[in-house]
Amino acid sequence: MIRSMNKPRSFGLLAILLFALVLAPSVQSYPTGISGAQDGGCSCHGQTASSEVVPSLEGLPTELEPGATYTLNISFTGGPSFAENAEPAALGGFHLWASAGVLAPVDGMVKTNSDGSVTHTGDDKDDTGMGNDQREWQVEWTAPMEGGAKFTLHVNSVNGDGTNGGDLWGRLTAEVGPQPVEQASGLTVLASAILLMVVITLGCVIWVFYRQDPEAFAWERFWPWFSDYITSTDHKKVGTLYMVNGLFFLGVGGLFALIFRVQLATPGNDFLTQDEYNQFFTMHGTTMIFLAAMPMIAGFANWIVPLQIGAPDLALPRLNALAFWLNPAAALLLFSGIFSGQGADTGWTGYAPYIVSHTAHSGATLWVAGQILIVASSTISGINFMTTFCTMRAPGMGWMQMPLFSWSMLIATLMLFISIPAFGIGLIQVLLDRTIGTVFYEVAAGGDPLLWSHLFWYFGHPEVYVVVLPAFGVISEVLSTSARRTIFGYKSMVFALAGIGIVGFIVYGHHMFTSGMSPVLRFVTMLTTMLVAVPTGIKIFNWLQTMHGGSLVYRTHTLWALGFLVTFTLGGISGMYFPAVAMDLHLHETYFVVAHFHYVFVGGIVFGLYSGIYYWFPKATGRMMNEKVGILHFMTGFISYNLIFWPMHRLGIQGMPRRQHTYFITTDEYFALPPEAADWNMLITVAAFMFFASNLILVYNMISSGLRGQKAPSDPWGGWSMEWLVSSPPPTPSHDPSDLPVLEFAEIHEDGEPGFFGRMIQWMMIPEDDGGEEE
């Protein structure tokens, strides 16, 4: 059935479905329902307003006196009521809305509606009023105490035949007094900015296509070129898709942050409503972690892992494409909520019981559904990487000869496998609670108020390591290659990764020190959390010692790696304040936490990945990146980044809570934040705009260098791992399957017998009677 359908038709169907999916919630959420009576008009007497019917609204003053009461005369001329009314009993009707002040009837001809507007009486059978027997009405309007008002008046001219056919209606708007300045709503700004980003991204794609060969440019060639990318199962093309997806959502997540930073720039600001603000910080966190960081890491892993371990492709290429394409679907689900005005407002942690309470927005259901797709996507791509590591290493490459980036991906994948099922189960329970009325998290029905927190943080804390370990791997590669030295203590680096992987599972309780969790569990996780600092410290000291005796070549990726060392050390150190329960009771849920995890997430992960972009870009595109623009990106990015997050430590200690729509400055009545907090917040907002702008430099550099940069040799930085063996850009398949590279050794190396784990994995992977890897 599917086979018989041709491609354009299936794409057309998909496009219509996606369009409908995006549109459906926004239609329903229209404040006055689908009909939108005030804007759309009264369709009951004809679809559009008629120019024949001329309404008039008299009695509005020229100078508005606050609080005064005015009598308004409503009348109309023209239409069937004058020309051809068969039964002079039903002549017409009206409906008047005022944006401010109070409308009131003066006689039985007019009544007040529940929304404060007024209309004529007698508009249906139960209403015995005689208000529809005339063409003139009187109402009273009390002016508001400040500001002006806007009026919308609809009048019906009726032909009196008892049906709506042939009736006509007219419309009039009027203003009185001073009008408020039009304010941009946060959602409008967001929607326009995202739309602009989509247009720019598509423009970039088309421009990249055009610049590849301007002479031979033809629109007929665009679709084959584009569809080759979006239907490919090649690990390099899927990796590119992941990267584009990740960078796009990094931008979207940044937009969320910019918009709510505007809200927080001054105390008591009302740029965003509380509802909007809650959705914005929720979507900022969700987007950054699940739609930006994870896809970017998957993009690096896709690109580099097969090249680095000497494999022609990933083990399961079709699963790889599936794992990627679940991501855009998940993104649509997550975002369709916010454009209905009822997006998830639960925070990225989605704490129950709030998420299953009736006060949570309906978009939370879509958020949960989208997260389930993300869980599926990461699990599928994890299976793929795991299989690749176990079965497709180049001949001669034992476990302890894998490059460190591959090791970090391996440990990250293992951690993902052990942690993400808990999250998936929690999400499915919440989805069932929200849709079919199960009571997993309903406290009144005996649910445990802490169950979600346990499930979420059992996943959530290892998740941090899942995204940060690959960044560690990138830094190991970059520092070693730049310093022209073998990474110091390769073995202890691997053991430290594994140590983080193990200890990372028993620390999650430090997210719940104030939750009322059992004191014993709080105490145990205090000890283990402190312990995580040891393997992390080993990694930092090994990186530092790698430079010893080397000959460090300064490139953009080297600068980002050194910048990473500074910021990640700061992030690691500030993390040491939380396991001390007595300090955490003050710092928990304040901006100190925000500062800490942004030093880890941005200063650790994003800086590491930027370093990786500059490092592997020549390999991926065959073009060198522009170093001068790169250094400009580093300088502006590093400085503005620290300006954003360093002051947050201070705000946190002063007691500014996170996730709050505003903050309170000390007054004579009570003590709160010091007045300087407002200045720091303004600085943070300004710096946030600078940081956002500095990242546009990277996008510019990637596009312009990708098209016009110098041709790159196969090993531009002089690295040792196997990705530098193949040409830049790599051929497809990446390594020739009939002539796989064999890992050689600089020192005499005796092939050891595989150890215990090696034997276990071989036993699991290749059946004894199969006789080989080929089928």
Binding site: N278, R485, E744
Partner: protein, 236 residues
């Protein structure tokens, strides 16, 4: 007044000291090595003879690696040890503590100075109610130790809880709907209020902490989370 309690600042200063020491070591090390061992002319000196596809020669030193495993471990043990002590103090209830109930609701706080009234455990005391918005609780000696009234915060009427300095309090907290968390800014304390379970905080305000401070909600609870405030005043 200053945010954060006495225990917080005691630990914070010690942790800060060690944070600065570790940071200085890392930064000096990084700047020294990255400048001392840089390629002077920017050219590529292949120190360890990297060749693509060849696993490079080893570069390690067990003594050094053990050094920076063991020394940080000792530091961690020390920091854990000093962070351990105050926990006991924070989690131990004074048997004479006066109980105050705290109930979180979307999106307002409810306090009660005398949650035990009418029960067998009720302390010898007297409670005065002034209309519906003020409650004063006197202990058996007739000393005012808890007062509940209202205060205006940014144009909204919020509860004002007044407690006496150098008197022990035991906050019994719960929630009627979702998770909330009162943040006693001046004392550096917070604890979630969970529906269906009771959490507790123990505190004895000192004379230094006399004055009023804002109490905010620090566990995200929905629309008006940012405005779910109250004021706590310590009086002499």
């Amino acid at each position: 007044m200053e945010a954060g309690g006495e225990i917080f600042w005691y630990l914070f200063d010690i942790f800060n000291l060690w944070a600065v020491i570790v940071l200085v070591i890392v930064l000096v090390w990084m700047f020294h090595h990255s400048l001392r061992y840089r390629s002077k002319d920017g050219s590529d000196n292949n120190v360890d003879n990297f060749k693509p596809g060849v696993f490079p020669k080893e570069n390690d030193n067990l003594t050094m690696e053990l050094t920076w495993t063991i020394i940080p471990f000792i530091l961690i043990v020390y920091l854990t040890y000093i962070a351990w002590g105050p926990i006991d103090e924070m989690w131990t209830a004074d048997p004479d503590a006066h109980e105050i109930s705290v109930v979180g609701n979307q999106w307002y706080w409810e306090f009660d100075c005398d949650p035990m009234r009418g029960t067998a455990d009720a302390p010898e005391s007297s409670v005065e109610m002034e209309n519906r918005s003020a409650m004063m609780f006197y202990n058996e000696n007739g000393i005012l130790i808890c007062e509940l009234t209202t205060i205006e915060v940014e144009g909204q009427i919020k509860p004002l809880l007044r407690v006496k300095a150098e008197e022990s309090y035991n906050f019994a907290m719960t929630s009627n709907d979702v998770t909330h968390a009162p943040f006693f800014l001046d004392w550096g304390l917070k604890e979630d209020t969970q529906p269906g379970m009771e959490t507790r905080l123990y505190y004895t305000p000192s004379m230094d902490e006399v004055g009023s401070s804002l109490l905010m909600c620090t566990e995200y609870c929905g629309k008006d989370h940012g405005y779910m405030t109250a004021v706590v005043e310590v009086f002499e």
